[in-house]
């Protein structure tokens, strides 16, 4: 019984952390249809910005916020210089964001070097719930992730701003005929998505050692989270997709090597993608 609970707790933590990591992509892919292959690079960049600022003495939370802003600015530049010309061409944006990943990774290597970096854990230790021990920091991140996703979903679905944004995006032609400023909206969404990716990268950094490819691990998993959950389903989709990918990985990892577990989960995700391209909940 204890092991089951601890497995469930583990799975929940991993689900929420993965949801945080994938959320930026869910926003960008789900709302403006860009297959952001640079999502991993944005996570990585967020991690490095956090490392740089904390090393310079900035308190952790402020460092993470600065990192998010930094990545949001990078995203803004990317959108403005390149992406905004290619919104209707998913293949091109796929390749262009991939090129962004290649270039950004090299820039990171040049600026920061390839050694592993460490961001110190601001909340070390674990919280005791009798038989279950939850790492304090991971628990905090998990809660934060839930709050962030919930709050963002609230903004997008319940506030005027969010409804306007979604209406704009769902009906670009009508919106442009009405004179509404689409390009600003797309920019805004792209920046938010990038910023959140940077935020996630910063928050996750204390849990891993930071290297130029740290975000890559989350790239394909984030895509599968979004596709399995349903592209455009920001709240439920991200959580369900994360639960599937993260949870399944945790469970399989009990029976085989971690690396192999991931392959099995990818295989399952591919099968789901084939049978339920609109997300695991919807019949296509």
């Amino acid at each position: 019984m204890e092991t089951i609970i601890s497995v469930l707790v583990d799975a929940t933590l991993i689900t929420l952390v993965l949801a945080l990591a994938a959320f930026g992509l869910a926003i960008i892919y789900g709302l403006v249809g860009v297959i952001n292959m640079g999502h991993g690079a944005m996570l990585t960049l967020g991690a490095y910005f956090t490392w740089a600022t904390t090393t310079a003495g900035v308190p952790f939370i402020l460092a993470v916020v600065l990192a998010a802003l930094g990545v949001a600015i990078v995203g803004l530049l990317l959108e403005h210089i390149i992406i905004r010309h290619f919104y209707d061409k998913p293949f091109d944006t796929l390749l262009l964001t991939w090129a962004f990943f290649l270039i950004m990774t090299e820039v990171i290597k040049i600026v920061f070097g390839t050694d592993f970096r460490n961001v110190s854990n601001p909340l070390p230790g674990a919280i005791d719930f009798g038989t279950i021990k939850i790492p304090a920091y991971k628990g905090a991140i998990a809660i934060f992730s839930l709050l962030l996703i919930g709050a963002t979903a609230f903004v997008f679905y319940k506030t005027n701003l969010g409804i306007k944004i979604r209406a704009l995006i769902q009906n670009r032609e009508a919106a442009s005929l009405l004179g509404l400023n689409i390009s600003r909206t797309y920019k805004f969404v792209f920046c938010i998505g990038s910023g959140i990716a940077g935020l996630a990268g910063g928050l996750i950094s204390p849990m891993l050692s930071v290297d130029p490819y740290i975000g890559n691990v989350y790239l394909i998993r984030s895509f599968f989270v979004v596709i399995v959950g349903g592209v455009g389903q920001l709240l439920g989709g991200t959580l369900i997709g994360s639960f599937f990918i993260g949870g399944a990985e945790t469970i399989f990892a009990l029976f085989s090597k971690q690396v192999f577990a991931q392959s099995i989960v990818f295989l399952l995700a591919i099968v789901i993608l084939r049978y339920r391209p609109a997300g695991i909940l919807k019949k296509s």
Partner: protein, 341 residues
């Protein structure tokens, strides 16, 4: 001639206007040059060139898929690695027949089967082209992970050593491939044969249908073509070619590691083909050879800056020069030809 000017020579030969010199003639010239190289150069370039030629074949396999059918795959290197591992495993067997021949025979079958199964599963359901890219990327990761985790078979992170095969001709004797020259002249004909084979396919009825699918899938379906079968066929062919190239690479490099099948290499192949020109098999073949050798040379000198430059060229090509270098040359020659008329 130094190595550097040899490459310039190859590049300028490829740059001849393609209407005056058809692709066949350019190909013949280039292959003759490559065949004659060992007369003028010795040492490391001759040792390593067969590997670059095989990278070229790998690039060509992607061009078949991407240029002709319009299907982008981020997973070609996965087939390449599977081929190398297949050769490695074949060389460990002892069935009394030349183990290398077994590897060469089996690898395209393995690659073709893997691609056919995946392709059938996905194309038959009408999976979107963009999802297909993600799936092939995931496949790349999976192959790399399987290679790492099944270390009993594959040697895990440390990789697998592969004996070098020799050419046996039954009772007629044996040719050792241990030295640079014999193996060079063993691999070159196979590369030429693979190019010729794929080119023949691409210019045949099959190739035209693939182009039709790329141009207007719905119209092709409405004309009675089973497009999912054709896509699967194209994917299987490209997988088989990539796998065979990988097997030969394994036989030549005598070593394979999981990173050969991984994401970084897989996507590098996409960059090569995008820059060289995806619609031309010859351009992709050359592009693979040239960019791979440049990468190897420059990455010892300035690794990060070279990748950075490559990334920037990649962006420029996607934004401005969709057809890559080959496309630009072809447009230029058409422009010049119309000026002459």
């Amino acid at each position: 001639m130094t190595e550097h000017s040899e490459k310039q020579w190859i590049e300028s030969a490829a740059a001849k206007p393609r209407n005056i010199f058809s692709e066949e003639i350019v190909a013949v010239i280039i292959f003759i040059i490559i065949a004659l190289l060992p007369i003028f150069i010795t040492g490391y370039p001759i040792y390593i060139l067969p590997q670059y030629m095989l990278f070229g074949v790998l690039a060509m396999s992607l061009a078949l898929l991407w240029g002709f059918v319009g299907i982008l795959s981020f997973g070609q290197a996965a087939f390449f690695a599977v081929g190398a591992y297949t050769m490695g495993l074949a060389m460990q067997t002892n069935f009394g027949v030349n183990s290398g021949y077994i590897g060469i025979l089996i690898s395209p079958l393995v690659g073709g089967a893997l691609a056919a199964i995946t392709g059938y599963f996905l194309f038959n359901a009408g999976v979107k082209a963009t999802y297909f890219v993600l799936v092939t990327l995931a496949l790349s990761i999976m192959i790399e992970q399987i290679a790492v985790s099944q270390s009993d078979i594959t040697g895990g992170w440390n990789g697998m050593y592969i004996d070098r095969m020799s050419l046996t001709f039954g009772s007629l004797g044996e040719i050792s491939l241990y030295n640079d020259i014999p193996v060079y002249y063993a691999i070159l004909p196979v590369v030429i044969a693979m190019y010729a084979f794929v080119r023949w396919f691409a210019t045949s009825r099959f190739g035209k249908i693939l182009i039709g699918i790329r141009e207007n899938e719905d119209r092709m379906t409405a004309l009675g073509f089973n497009i999912s079968a054709y896509k699967t066929g194209a994917f299987a062919l490209s997988g088989a070619i990539a796998c065979l190239a990988g097997a030969l690479y394994g036989a030549h490099a005598n070593f394979v590691a999981p990173s050969l099948g991984g994401v970084l290499f897989s996507t590098e192949v996409v960059v090569w083909v995008a820059i060289a020109g995806r619609s031309s098999l010859l351009a992709a073949l050359l592009g693979g050879i040239i960019v791979a050798s440049l990468s190897n040379y420059l990455s010892t000198v300035t690794p990060n800056y070279w990748q950075l430059v490559l990334g920037i060229i990649f962006i420029l090509v996607i934004v401005f020069l969709k057809g890559g270098v080959a496309g630009a040359i072809s447009d230029l020659s058409k422009h010049l030809q119309s000026k002459i008329k």
